[in-house]
């Protein structure tokens, strides 16, 4: 069996392009990747025919052993139809994702995010405690110091709670099954959004999952004007946990 090198090279290039597109986060790119990858693999199926011959039609004057093998073509046709159906589904899903979350990017799993958040929370708490102990060893017990330590810990806990509540909110949609199934206009979703949520960005979707989490809110992180920026670093720094690059936001990236 001889195989055309051009077919193989084309299949390899298309597969490589498709595979790298599949590794991205945006559903639209993934969709394109699926199309390109599917085409590459269909070429590969065709390449298994060997060298090209006559059209595989059976009539009186056909020379049987010069006819192209029809079976790979049938397989490729089946695969094309299936790719078409899957592409249509992916397209619908990307549009739906855009409709309900305002983006077509795939977010991290909620459970995974919560697990990561828990680990981050424990780390930060330990760090705070260590710094508090260091500071206490250096300066002795100081009521202001311990009050600030407690305040920092409270803020940390509150942020975890907010993140959790935010996750729960992100799970909700409009609640109207008709809208959910048919897909309402973004306008309707915006109205639903103004009912339930405080986000005024005007994105479509009742609870945009990728709108910055509570910790990423500029108001939130800038809300501590009295955070003693001039003090030295051995004090427990209250604005440390409010770092905008903190635990909760990493999960969405």
């Amino acid at each position: 069996m001889t195989v055309s090198l051009a077919l193989l090279v084309a299949a390899a290039v298309l597969s490589a392009v498709g595979a790298s597109l599949l590794l991205t986060r945006s559903l639209t790119r993934i969709l394109l990747g699926a199309v390109v990858l599917g085409n590459g693999v269909n070429l590969l199926v065709l390449a298994s025919t060997g060298s090209a011959g006559d059209a595989p039609l059976l009539y009186a004057k056909v020379i049987r052993n010069r006819v192209t093998d029809p079976l790979p073509q049938a397989i490729a046709l089946t695969a094309i139809v299936i790719t078409l159906a899957t592409t249509a589904f992916l397209l619908a899903m990307a549009y739906r994702s855009h409709q309900v979350t305002g983006t077509d990017e795939i977010s991290d799993d909620t459970e995974d995010r919560l697990v990561a958040l828990r680990a981050e929370f424990l780390d930060r708490r330990g760090e705070l405690r260590d710094r508090y102990r260091e500071a206490r060893a250096e300066h002795g017990t100081d009521p202001e110091l311990s009050a600030r330590y407690r305040a920092a810990r409270r803020r940390l806990r509150r942020r975890v709670r907010e993140e959790r509540a935010y996750q729960a909110r992100a799970n909700d949609v409009s609640g109207s099954l008709w809208n959910d199934v048919l897909g309402a206009d973004p306008q309707d979703y915006r109205e639903g959004l103004e009912l339930g949520s405080t986000d005024a960005a005007g994105r479509p979707g009742p609870a945009p999952a990728r709108v910055a989490g509570p910790s990423n809110d500029p108001e939130e992180s800038g809300r501590e004007p009295d955070s003693h920026p001039g003090e030295d670093s051995c004090h427990p720094s209250p604005d440390q946990p409010d770092d905008p690059e903190g635990a909760g936001t990493e999960g969405t990236r």
Binding site: I75, T78, F89, R96, V173, G175, D180, L182
Partner: protein, 552 residues
């Protein structure tokens, strides 16, 4: 008799067309024909199993085209048993979904989505079990997958779209890999028919044959969620509605296991990747069950035990002896039933308390004794407590491992014993948290929605399940405090779910029947093990299958 072979695929597909033609108009008739066709498939499957047991494998060439060109469907003992178990399970799950009122919402949607997709899923599963060539296996997978995409993302909520994305992309990738494997096989052997491949692959150079084996194993391991390729499963399954998760957990992964069993015995006898498979089996068992230990949501716990117990079946396939293959077949049948039952029970708990989060459940043993019994039996069955079928499957596999006597085999025996104990631990943990302890104070009623907004009794077409929901709702109205505004905001997983203290009888009856089916394996363990032993012998001998297809 041979003419019956294509019917388990054709019947559901034709009825799907009929249902779509009827549209959402006659709800009762729609439900009746779904149940009727699933019952017919069950009867057919039993007939095929008995016939394959008596007369050897049945095969049919569609359109009477000879093997390399035509499509071949084969029903041997293994396929017959798988068909029977899967159609029994799908019938029960459908009954359950009717009780849950999933179909009740069909009248609100333009075209009833759930039942047609469900029937296509059944057709796809039957098609993979009956497939006599690689391409038909691929097509069966695709039918099943496209239907499962629809079922998994039904309702199109945020979480389901997210979970669906993972699932769709993984499935798409494994399908593409499968297609590459088919192209390679065809260019090497000039056929995709299993029976012809069984002969021709022996003449192929060893390296190429191993490459083909590795490709096919990778594809099926993704479908079956064997450990390094299983990360998609706990991400995607738990978000779907309970009946969907149940049927996915029971059937879809087992279809991958079945394909592995078929290709490893028929195409690659004396295979060289046995050690790799054993390592994957051990890793699946241990990592999966450790994942289950760490989870606190019942559906996620069950997803991880699913990955873990796939390891047992891969263990049996990897050893490739008559005893181990027989044990693996028993285990597949047992696990389809038990895993589905457990997910159905999780759905019942969700229906009753609005959540499956174990930290928010409690006291169910006192308040819902029937539900507790329905959970307890399959949980113990999964862990492998002696009289139950899980024990029979594990015993067969371990005995095969000890008989094999290799270092890997002993490691796997030890690993499977440890996994069994850890499964018992996980199930005991679930039992303690959700059933045995007192209900945690202040959690009851929080986030629980009594009736979802669009689910007024007036919308119901006036059938028995609608009546049940009414009764349940009035019964629970006094019991649960509803926080103000909870109906809209406290939806669970993106959909306001209906919770009722009194569970609808079709749901309870279906779950009870599934539990009883699991117990039936114990009662019939003698005939079952002799049947699977015969099936394993038939698989390893290969000649009955090849002769039935090629007619020599």
């Amino acid at each position: 008799m041979n003419a019956l072979v294509p019917l388990p695929v054709l019947l559901p597909l034709c009825v799907t067309g009929l249902k779509l033609a009827i549209g959402p108009r006659i709800q009762r008739f729609q439900r009746f024909i779904t149940l009727a066709v699933l019952g017919a498939v069950l009867v057919l499957s039993v007939l095929l199993m008995v016939a394959a047991d008596r007369h050897g494998p049945l095969s049919v060439h569609l359109g009477d085209f000879a093997p390399p060109i035509g499509i071949t469907l084969v029903a041997d003992r293994l396929a017959g048993l798988m068909l029977t178990v899967s159609s029994a399970v799908t019938l029960l799950v459908n009954l359950y979904s009717l009780g849950q009122g999933m179909a009740d919402r069909d009248d609100q949607t333009p075209v009833g989505v759930f039942h047609p997709a469900y029937l296509i899923l059944v057709a796809g599963v039957s098609c993979t079990f009956l497939a006599g060539d690689l391409v038909n296996l691929y097509v069966g997978f695709e039918i099943m997958l496209v239907a499962s995409f629809v079922l998994l993302t039904i309702g199109g909520t945020v979480t389901r779209i997210r979970a669906g994305s993972t699932y769709v992309i993984i499935s798409l990738f494994s399908s593409v890999l499968f297609l590459v494997a088919i192209a390679m096989t065809y260019s090497v052997a000039g056929t995709v028919n299993f029976a012809q491949l069984a002969g021709r692959l022996q003449e192929v150079p060893l390296g190429v044959r191993t490459l083909l084996e590795a490709m096919l194993l990778t594809v099926f391991a993704i479908k079956a969620a064997v450990f390094p390729l299983a990360a998609w499963l706990p991400d995607s399954y738990p978000t779907a509605p309970a009946p969907v998760t149940a049927v996915f957990a029971g059937l879809l992964t087992k279809v991958g296991v079945y394909s592995m069993l078929r290709t490893q015995t028929l195409l690659f006898p004396g295979h060289r990747l046995g050690d790799v498979l054993m390592l994957a089996a051990l890793a699946s068992m241990v990592v999966g069950i450790l994942g289950a230990v760490a989870q606190t949501d019942l559906k996620r716990v069950l997803s991880f035990t699913l990955i873990s117990h796939i390891g047992y079946m891969v263990f049996g396939i990897a050893l490739a002896g008559r005893g181990s293959i027989g044990g693996a077949i028993v285990y597949v049948a047992h696990h389809i039933t038990v895993q589905t039952t457990l997910f159905l029970v999780a759905g019942l708990i969700e229906r009753r308390d609005g959540t499956t989060e174990l930290t928010r459940l409690g006291g169910l043993a006192k308040t819902a004794p029937v539900l507790s019994a329905l959970f307890f039996v399959p949980a113990m069955n999964l862990a492998g407590i002696p009289p139950l079928s899980g024990f029979i499957g594990k015993l067969g596999l371990m005995r095969a491992g000890v008989d094999n006597g290799g270092g890997w085999a002993w490691a796997l025996v030890a690993g499977s014993a440890a996994t069994s104990l850890l499964t018992l631990y996980v199930m005991a943990k679930v039992w303690n948290l959700a059933f045995w302890r007192d209900a945690p104070p202040g959690t009851e009623g929080e986030g629980v929605v009594l009736e979802s907004a669009g689910d007024e009794p007036g919308d119901e077409p006036g059938d028995e399940s609608g009546d049940d929901e009414d009764g349940g709702a009035t019964g629970s109205g006094s019991g649960l405090p509803v926080p103000a505004g909870a109906v809209v905001s406290a939806g669970f997983l993106g959909q306001s779910i209906t919770t009722t203290k009194r569970l609808p009888w079709p749901m309870l009856a279906a779950t009870g029947a599934a539990v009883a089916l699991g117990l039936l394996y114990t009662v019939l363990s003698g005939p079952l093990t002799s049947f699977t032993d015969a099936a394993a012998a038939e698989l390893l001998a290969r000649t009955p299958y090849i002769e039935a297809v090629l007619g020599r």
